[in-house]
């Protein structure tokens, strides 16, 4: 209701101010016709003098040049930062080599023991006398060979 009333009152205001609005628009229309004729004549003169009639203004050209330069400078800044980071990491590696100090190793990841419902294998049936090292295994082999020879 308030919105309707607001629009109704604005409508009354516009009807009352309509002559003033029409007068302002008419004055601007006449001014725009004069401006139009001026720009048309100026464009024709500039065209026959070899220039660009409705090209960019000098301020626009200068602004585009400055903004283009800024855009070209910005990617170089990013590349410089990356190069600095690589150089720093290389310097750290070289320094650790010279100082015979190990590079800082990342902490080993602790993997939690898996708990599952599967049955754990039973190692109790394994031979208790089974060799645990290669030497023991070779000795065992020699003993077996000696036994077999008899």
């Amino acid at each position: 209701m308030l919105g309707f009333l607001k629009v109704f009152l604005q409508g009354i205001l516009y009807v009352v101010l309509l002559p003033l609005i029409v007068a302002i628009v008419a004055i601007y229309a006449v001014y725009c016709v004069i401006v139009f004729i001026y720009i048309a004549i100026r464009s024709i003169i500039v065209f026959f003098m070899g220039g660009t009639p409705l090209g960019d203004l000098p301020e626009d050209v200068e602004a585009k040049r400055i903004l283009l330069e800024r855009a070209q400078v910005n990617p170089a800044d990013s590349a410089q930062m990356l190069a600095d980071a690589i150089t720093r990491s290389q310097a750290q590696f070289a320094q650790s080599f010279v100082n015979q100090q190990p590079l800082p190793q990342p902490e080993p990841e602790v993997i939690p023991e898996e708990t599952s419902d599967l049955e754990q294998p039973d190692f109790s049936s394994l031979d208790e006398d089974a060799p645990e090292t290669i030497d023991e295994y070779e000795e065992k082999l020699e003993e077996n060979n000696d036994d077999q020879s008899y």
Binding site: V7, L9, Q10, G11, V25, F36, K64
Partner: protein, 211 residues
């Protein structure tokens, strides 16, 4: 002695209908005004596009220079958008002038409804007898038909001139409205672009100690 106007039931109904029509008219005008304001706001946003680069690049740093630059840029934008309707109107006026020159008929009436004008295409009524008021009350009489639509060979210039001027004129007025909207926006921006505001200022967390 004051004689009061006696209103019949029909007269009262007529007054109520006229009041409702008046209220509806004001509401329609209000909504049209709202629409025009929204369109002008949209047209004014072009001014931001016009001024952005020169301010961002630091080419213009003064209010007066920004205003002058904005006015010159606005003229160019207006010319680029208004040359088509201007040519249409110029062509229509040239056609009418050439016709009057070659036919030697300088009293050519483009609104005539009998032979020469654009109104030959419409129903024309005599509205003089529509509404009359008397001490006995109001009377409304349906207007009399005086001309039916018909094509006239003599009116061919009006058939071209009136639509061309209507289209060209409406298009030109819309471009003038856009020019006015951009001009107001340029004026406002030139006064606020370089003004400092305290709204987004955050003081340092630690006060700076004097040396």
């Amino acid at each position: 002695m004051i004689s009061l106007i006696k209103l019949t039931e029909n007269d009262k109904r007529l007054i109520i209908v006229l009041l409702l029509v008046l209220i509806l008219l004001f509401v329609i005008v209000g909504y049209i005004g709202l629409l025009v304001r929204k369109i002008m706001k949209f047209q004014a946003s072009k001014a931001d596009d016009m001024l952005h680069d020169v301010v961002e690049a630091g080419v213009i740093t003064e209010e007066s220079k920004l205003l002058r630059f904005g006015i010159r840029k606005n003229w160019r934008v207006f010319f680029k958008s208004a040359w088509v309707p201007f040519l249409i109107m110029l062509g229509a006026v040239t056609l009418l002038l050439l016709y009057c020159l070659f036919s030697k008929n300088w009293s050519y009436n483009i609104w005539d409804y009998e032979k020469q004008g654009f109104n030959t295409l419409f129903y024309i009524y005599d509205w003089n007898v529509f509404f009359s008021a008397s001490p006995e009350g109001f009377t409304i009489t349906w207007p009399k038909l005086i001309s039916s639509p018909h094509l006239s060979g003599e009116a061919w210039v009006s058939y071209i001139f009136v639509p061309a001027m209507t289209i060209g004129g409406t298009w030109f007025v819309v471009d003038v409205q856009a020019y006015i909207a951009r001009a107001f926006r340029i004026y406002k921006l030139s006064h606020t672009a370089f003004r400092k505001t305290m709204e987004n200022v955050t003081p340092p967390s630690q006060p700076i100690k004097p040396e």
